[in-house]
């Protein structure tokens, strides 16, 4: 589908920007209990530690979306999600380094 008649403006999600627990739940279509579970397993770290006023870095939003898809599609539990996300981060870093190295080698 082409949707290029007009240009979409976007804003950078700033470093300090946060979401409330309710906003995060709405964004991902999940219950608060599930977010609590992610926090307990260290997948997600609230900016403020007081559970009643939890706020989350807006930059973590894609991580929660990925976590939701992993839970739904692969039936992973919270520790499985935590492990998968850590390994995926590591693979992304290594692939980035490999690609940069290959780009440098090609130059030579």
């Amino acid at each position: 589908m082409q949707d290029t008649r007009y240009t979409l403006t976007c804003e950078i999600v700033e470093h300090g920007e946060t979401l409330t627990l309710a906003q995060l739940c709405r964004s991902c279509g999940v219950h608060a209990e599930w977010i609590t579970l992610l926090v307990e397993h260290g997948v997600l770290e609230p900016v403020s530690p007081n559970e009643r006023q939890w706020r989350f870095a807006a930059a973590h939003l894609p991580r929660v979306h990925t976590a939701r898809r992993l839970a739904q599609d692969l039936e992973l539990n919270a520790s499985g999600i935590a492990l998968a996300l850590e390994l995926m981060d590591e693979i992304r870093t290594l692939r980035g380094r490999l690609a940069a190295q290959e780009a440098r080698d090609e130059q030579r």
């Binding site: 949707d3 979409l8 599609d73 940069a100 090609e106």
Partner: protein, 323 residues
């Protein structure tokens, strides 16, 4: 319409038991999950595996599907494709509850012609512990996009292709290729996100649409490597430039600039060009790391000069090694 061999898709025998089918499905789901896999057609393979499992895990659907494939009761349509025989499903009753974890809205025409569209859930209603009912804001969506370094350095318009789930006219969720023109803000960094307000999933019952978040990553650049706001460059210099000092041309994304190399610069020395990195409130620096390189071929004259240097110099670079 094309006949789908669900057993072949999952890689199991036609008489495979439920446990074998489940195991095969889970293996494929892990392998081709679009968040995990790096393969180009991962999303399509993941969708196929889901469709196959949706049928084969359900005893009713599986029995109906098996009957269809047996004894040539299936026939070809005029285009040479597949047509289910009339009344093929008369002995089966498919209930809405048959659809479970998978996103049934995404299945093939073949699936739809056999099992219909019952039980599809509306956008925004899935996920662990999803809530439902009343007017609801649409879910946000996230996607990862790869930019060239120059896109972020200069900012400006960029066409971006995304695969996003959308709700079609029947209220089903389908994956669509969507190309949008986006204004990339100058100085955006890897790992940062861009928010496009109202470009996520549509809302339900008059609720507003969610937002679309684009996570930025950069394609590798042949010259520069990004380190947060700083641009790292390996700058080749001749031995005599390194020894005597020189002013040399250095590439930057904004065009070449002059860089002064101090005398007696070793390989690996880092020189900082302040403010020549990625633009922003606090612009980054360009950090050039010197690398001493020799000419590929030494002509007679150069060789003679090096020979004289070798004869007359008493420099021992290995003094610290005690040799």
């Amino acid at each position: 319409m094309e006949y789908k061999d669900y057993y072949k898709i999952l890689g199991v025998d036609r008489d495979a038991d439920d446990a074998t089918i489940k195991r095969a499905y889970r293996k494929l789901a892990r392998k081709y999950h679009p968040d995990v896999s790096n393969e180009d057609d991962a999303a399509e393979k993941f969708r196929e595996a889901n469709e196959a499992y949706e049928v084969l895990k359900d005893p009713e659907k599986r029995a109906a599907y098996d009957q269809l494939g047996r004894g040539g009761s299936a026939r070809q349509d005029s285009a040479g494709g597949f047509q289910p025989p009339p009344g093929w499903d008369s002995n089966f009753e498919f209930r809405g509850g048959g659809y479970t974890g998978a996103d049934a809205g995404d299945f093939s025409d073949f699936f739809e012609s056999l099992f219909g569209r019952g039980g599809f859930r509306a956008a925004g209603g899935r996920g662990p512990g999803a809530s439902a009912g009343g007017s609801m804001r649409g879910q946000d969506q996230t996607a990862r996009i790869a930019l060239d370094l120059e896109d972020a350095f200069q900012g400006g318009q960029k066409m971006i292709s995304l695969r996003v789930p959308e709700t079609d006219e029947h209220g089903r969720v389908v994956n669509r290729e969507r190309t949008v023109r986006v204004n990339i803000p100058k100085g955006v960094r890897a790992g940062q996100q861009l928010r496009l307000t109202g470009q996520g999933m549509p809302g339900l019952g008059g609720g507003e649409a969610g937002d679309l978040y684009l996570e930025i990553e950069f394609r590798p650049h042949p010259l520069f490597r990004l380190d947060d706001r700083n641009l790292m460059l390996e700058l080749p210099v001749a031995p005599w430039e390194a020894a005597l000092g020189a002013t040399v041309k250095t590439p930057t994304p904004a065009g070449p600039v002059d860089l002064k190399i101090p005398a007696r610069s070793n390989s690996g020395r880092r020189l900082r060009l302040k403010g020549r990195g990625m633009p922003g409130k606090t612009p980054g620096d360009l950090i050039a790391t010197l690398k001493i390189v020799l000419p590929e071929h030494l002509d007679d004259e150069t060789r003679a000069l090096y020979e004289r240097l070798a004869r007359e110099s008493d420099f021992n670079p290995r003094k610290k090694l005690g040799v």
